[in-house]
Symmetry: C2
Subunit: 223 residues, 2 copies
Amino acid sequence: MRISELSRRSGVPNATIKYYLREGLLPPGRATAATQAEYDETHLRRLRLIRALTGVRGLSVASAKQVLDAMTEHRGDTHELLGIAFGIRPPDGGTPAGDEGEGEGEALAEANPEAAALVDAMGWSVSARNPARQVIDETLRTLRSLDVEYGWEALLPYAELAERTARHDLDNLETVTDPLEKAERAVLLTFLLEPALMALRRLAQENESTARHGGDGHTPARP
Amino acid sequence: MRISELSRRSGVPNATIKYYLREGLLPPGRATAATQAEYDETHLRRLRLIRALTGVRGLSVASAKQVLDAMTEHRGDTHELLGIAFGIRPPDGGTPAGDEGEGEGEALAEANPEAAALVDAMGWSVSARNPARQVIDETLRTLRSLDVEYGWEALLPYAELAERTARHDLDNLETVTDPLEKAERAVLLTFLLEPALMALRRLAQENESTARHGGDGHTPARP
């Protein structure tokens, strides 16, 4: 297809596609004339992935390029690919999600003792560089600053539910065999599902609150 | 305490506290002289709640005032209070989270058929106005636009986990007896825990990915 059709089908403006081509995020099409090229389904898919990385995940175009390059390079290694897709491992020497360098990253485990204790208690095998560690310690610090005494032990029931959630996440990826497509889907499901998972929690909270405290004409959830 | 100590203990600048006093978000202190007033622990707690609402949840000062006023007004009704705290019910006639008016809000259930089907399948009792409904349908639409065929049925396992999460959330509130404090804690735990819950999912994803795909020197999670 021509660039105009690629634009129409992806919803990405012509000028933006040309920018991605110049920056090397999108591989060049097959030249059909001096100023014309043909694009195919792989370009369309790549374009959607770029939009998911830059839009939903909020990566810069340069960081998105690093992730995409790394994904192409580690084609055969599912574990490595998923690490990159989940934002755990920095694409070769680049900055990982959270902008920590390799050395700094290693310190994440030490700098966040509550996350470390939680990971340990769960028996999880998690890289010292995983930036999610920091979120755990920061959240607990914030809660304590608001007089809510909440230690990592209080997160254990949530961690067990997160373990089951992650199992569903990985199950969702098992059906995909092509490693690159698998990594692509991991990015999509990890980042795009986040708001929906939090929305499910809100819906379930309302239901549970109604069931426990009832009142004002609502029917309790469990009759 | 004087306003300067209130500022020091809360970390909120003097000028900001005076602004909250002028806008009526913070009740006035006990006047001790023409230009001096005494503040107490209730002011400190209220100040922290204002910061949680405007900071973490991103409400405008006017919206935060509506929520706080409604919380004071519905003191006795835990169900109503939690509804306001969870952002489900608009504080009397005001705009609910998501800025839908009453009429528009009722249409949320109809406008989001996939959320409605999910709520129905789960047997949940959820208001037609709950703004989380929209997030569900939007997410599924986005995934489909990226060729990920994902219907509301695929969310069912996540909904079951959300149900258990909500049960832990409400359990966390049972220990608090004062209704206003309960609503305050609901706001804090709902909004402040969100990033931590998503961080737990990322940590668990890495662990699960390592367990399934192993490789590069990592020890599998389950030996």
